[in-house]
Symmetry: C2
Subunit: 192 residues, 2 copies
Amino acid sequence: MTVFAIVGHLARTDGAFSLNDCAGGAGRMDVLCRCVNASLTLSHGLRRDVECSLVLLGQPVPPKTVRFSGSTVRSLNPDERSPAALIKKALSIPCGSEFREASPGVSVRKSGLLRLLQEHTFGVLDKQGTDIRKAGQLPDAFLLSDHLDFTPDEEAIIADCPHYSVGPVVLHADHAITVLLNEIDRRNAGWT
Amino acid sequence: MTVFAIVGHLARTDGAFSLNDCAGGAGRMDVLCRCVNASLTLSHGLRRDVECSLVLLGQPVPPKTVRFSGSTVRSLNPDERSPAALIKKALSIPCGSEFREASPGVSVRKSGLLRLLQEHTFGVLDKQGTDIRKAGQLPDAFLLSDHLDFTPDEEAIIADCPHYSVGPVVLHADHAITVLLNEIDRRNAGWT
């Protein structure tokens, strides 16, 4: 299984946002929605062997983590509004420190990046990292930031993670996920 | 310059659709919006050397072509609603057989795929094509279909175009564009 985690520095942590304003009042939730779709959607189906966790750090009750599990998620379409509606629903239910399922394959808990770092050995996607095409075995979990850089505090706790680059041009997080999954698909299929 | 053209088989050809219903009443305009963003947006800026043309074949007055020119486009943000609003504006003005600018860098004309095929030498993205990593020089124009396959009539007129594949797994059109641009970025930067 491949795991993606994306830090949403401004993304709201309650369901009080409009699906028509994901890029505004929801704290750039649009960025995270595109990351969910890049992680999980295929032309005809879903990537059942991928998990995508969104670390939400915006108001009013940060941090929260919303996890999409490709193995069980339903009603996920590739437009931005579809994951946004599932995120909104997950953020609208009470949650504690353990994942609680809000809809099939979509769970939420009250924790953030530190907890995720205890659970997975992440590679960090970063323009200064090792070229993914030239890297040996790739990790099975990858950490990305949204439209903002990692903060100095975040940089400090991920400093020891291996860093990988997807190419010479700095891409949006969702585009980087797409390129990375293409590399993984090629390795799995013996195309490289 | 790199040119992408995407055929939107159901995409509306007037501006009478809601930005809140791009995946429904607009005829899967969401697919085309994501292709615009994959073609033109970078983490910090736009791809000024890319053009993206949308061939719209839905009701009420098909065909129309909406062209986004990276060199001059403005007010394009990476969320789906942003290109949707620019497309809606372009489809709301009268147009003839030559491109008419509706907003900076966004033009519309009353023609379809046949006209584009006279203007560019396209490579077609297709799961049966040559692996882009193994191909020699890549063309500077690429043709893709939306969520539907090319029709038999379309297949007939593009049969002589070279066909390329981005990988072993069939991706959404926008994801295929992202992977292809990564290959082009790598070639341009001497990364391969």
